[in-house]
């Protein structure tokens, strides 16, 4: 193994160690601290559900569509999301005007309640 290659490996290890200790991630140094934070219990939970022709289809979405769904907070974003969903999952969504996005929330010791419909 050449000296240059050894140096590159050493620098990579050093960088990875530094980023791991700092708990941040920046390509090519990854951070694997998921699910490590201590949760204080279910004080507040907010989540989105998506309805197509009044039927809840959230479970049919793939992870990518679900990641994007959680950013739906405003009407403008929701419209863009619905339009994109018709392009991305045409086998599920044929008409974006028939989509409703509902945001539910649960505070500590409270029942679940509907916060917003987009």
């Amino acid at each position: 193994m050449s000296i240059l290659l050894r140096l590159l490996i050493f620098l990579f290890l050093l960088g990875q160690l530094l980023f791991t200790v700092k708990g941040v991630e920046s390509f090519p140094f990854f951070h694997f601290g998921m699910y490590s934070a201590q949760l204080s219990g279910t004080t507040q939970i907010e989540f989105h559900r998506i309805f197509y022709q009044k039927k809840d289809i959230t479970a049919k979405l793939n992870p990518i569509a679900r990641y994007q769904l959680k950013y739906c907070r405003s009407e403008v974003y929701a419209q863009r999301y619905k339009k994109w969903l018709r392009y991305y999952l045409p086998h599920i969504i044929k008409d974006e005007t028939k989509i409703d996005i509902k945001i539910f929330q649960k505070r500590k010791d409270q029942n679940i309640e509907l916060k917003k419909t987009l």
Binding site: F27, F32, I45, A59, Q68
Partner: protein, 268 residues
């Protein structure tokens, strides 16, 4: 019982990698994860990743937003490289291009889905290994990649221990309630059976959570007892199965990395 990595030839090692890379790429197609399939998603973000901001700064992402069809070039490029590698044409150029395009795909993908996914690390590690035509280097980097994969698991366990979730007996139950909030709407049919049992308290959250952390820590053996490597390969696969069963997270792209534990190419 001898569980040391089985020695294989350089050729067989390269063939395994090529097969794994192709498998991951085809799997991604069926998961609608090619960039051209995702297209102009509404929210792009690289969170705190500096490379995202650098690419944003030089106009890479604004170019993609303006000309969304450009996403297809990355998919097309990766597919072409894989075909070239199978047909044994322009091997060297194709393997370098595959790694560069793989990195570009990885960064772009994480930005356009706005989620720091780690799954494609498997693809990157294997593409990187494919660069080495020298048998000795290939064998050495195979070993180094194995140590890196072991580090991923050990680091995950150490983080859980240092930030506290490892010491919380109800940690898994709390995580699952966040992972599956539909429980509050009584949509229990959407929740995996085992996850539901933990949420309801029928299965011990502490026992399973501690087992997961122990499983992650067991990768320390890769550094001190290499003769148990095949067992660690099984641990890796077990971890992925558990992730699918409890969290509904499918790390299929990670599965080929178990080959690094099962086998070791020799330079002879």
């Amino acid at each position: 019982m001898n569980l040391a990595s089985k020695n294989i030839s350089y050729e067989k090692g390269r063939w395994m990698i090529l097969f794994s890379i192709s498998f991951i790429w085809v799997y991604n197609f069926f998961q609608l994860s090619w960039l051209s399939q995702i297209g102009a998603s509404p929210y792009w973000s690289g969170s705190s990743d500096r490379i995202h901001h650098v690419l944003e700064g030089i106009g890479y992402f604004s170019l993609l937003r303006k000309h969304i069809f450009c996403l297809g070039f990355i998919d097309l490029g990766i597919s072409t490289c894989i075909i070239l590698l199978w047909s044994r044409m322009f091997q060297k150029t194709a393997s370098y291009l595959l790694l560069i395009l793989g990195i570009l795909y990885f960064i772009t993908y994480r930005s356009i889905i706005a989620h720091p996914e780690h799954q494609m690390i498997g693809f990157l590690i294997l593409s990187f290994l494919f660069l080495f035509e020298d048998k000795k280097l290939f064998s050495d980097f195979w070993k180094l990649s194995r140590y890196y994969v072991a580090f991923i698991f050990i680091s995950a366990a150490l983080w859980k221990m240092s930030r506290g979730s490892a010491w919380d007996p109800d940690a898994l139950q709390k995580i699952l309630l966040i992972q599956f909030p539909q429980y509050y709407l009584n949509h229990n049919e959407e929740i995996p059976f085992f996850a539901l049992q933990i949420i309801k308290g029928n299965l011990s959250s502490t026992l399973i959570w501690n087992s997961v952390i122990l499983l992650e820590l067991s990768f320390l053996l890769s550094f001190i007892k290499p003769r148990w490597n095949q067992g660690l390969g099984i641990c890796l696969l077990l971890f992925l199965v558990a992730d699918a069963c409890f969290m509904q997270i499918y790390f299929i792209e990670f599965a080929p990395l178990s080959l690094l534990f099962f086998y070791q190419p020799t330079d002879i």
